[in-house]
């Protein structure tokens, strides 16, 4: 048995998918459930429970799952990372597009969503005006990631084996 290949293409790929499910699952939870739930909860003064107990925990797993997903993905590509990111070989173009989308999403999480959520949740000092601005920025960044997740998942699926043949004929 080739243990190197087993770890590289088996276990790391498994980890990539597990972490990816957690990342995108929580992203969809925020966008499909929590945004509407918070609006309804604010109307009957029960939003504090979500903001204090649910959102911080969800964000913890969300942002670290994003890092694990990206690192595992980069490990799978390993010495083909450069070829994929810079579309140097045709065979790596679909996964390269997926990798770029995933990278943009990771940057969105750590540069826009998390710093602004810290202000919204009161984990860092912010005025009411700053909180309102942070709310809008975090919301749009999160919605952008939801939109980007659709082509990202398509290109992840369409990048290998029979799926690539089916979608791209190569």
């Amino acid at each position: 048995m080739d243990w190197g290949a087993f770890i590289h293409y088996g276990l790391v790929r498994w980890l990539h998918i597990l972490a990816g499910v957690m990342w995108i699952g929580l992203l969809y939870y925020f966008n499909f459930v929590q945004v509407a739930a918070l609006k309804a909860a604010q109307a009957d003064n029960t939003a504090a429970g979500i903001s204090r107990h649910v959102a911080p925990r969800a964000l913890l797993f969300f942002r670290w799952a994003a890092v694990v997903t990206w690192l595992a993905g980069a490990t799978i590509l390993s010495n083909h990372l450069f070829e994929a990111f810079f579309f140097q070989q045709k065979v790596y173009v679909p996964i390269g597009v997926g990798a770029w989308l995933g990278t943009i999403m990771l940057i969105n999480v750590w540069a826009l969503i998390w710093p602004n959520q810290k202000k919204i949740l009161g984990l860092v000092q912010a005025t009411d005006e700053e909180k309102n601005k942070a709310r809008r920025t975090a919301f749009l960044a999160s919605r952008t990631n939801t939109a980007l997740s659709i082509p990202m998942l398509f290109f992840m699926i369409a990048s290998g084996g029979v799926f690539r043949t089916a979608f791209f004929g190569t």
Binding site: N31, F32, F87, K90, V93, P94, V97, L140, R143, T144, T146, A147, L148, S149, I150, P151, F154, F155, A158, F167, F168, G169, T170
Partner: protein, 47 residues
């Protein structure tokens, strides 16, 4: 001049909505982007 002083072909900014404000707008934006990228990649691969 038509429409209360708005030049024909001019879109009033206040009428434009960000598609990301709604869930359906977000999903449709994602699907459109998928289609565009798919066509570009297919063209790049010559398939």
């Amino acid at each position: 001049m038509l429409g209360g002083g708005v030049h024909p072909g001019t879109v009033k900014e206040e009428n434009m909505k960000n598609p990301l404000d709604s869930l359906w707008g977000t999903i449709i934006s994602g699907l459109v982007l998928t289609l565009i990228l798919y066509c570009i990649v297919k063209l790049a691969l010559g398939s």
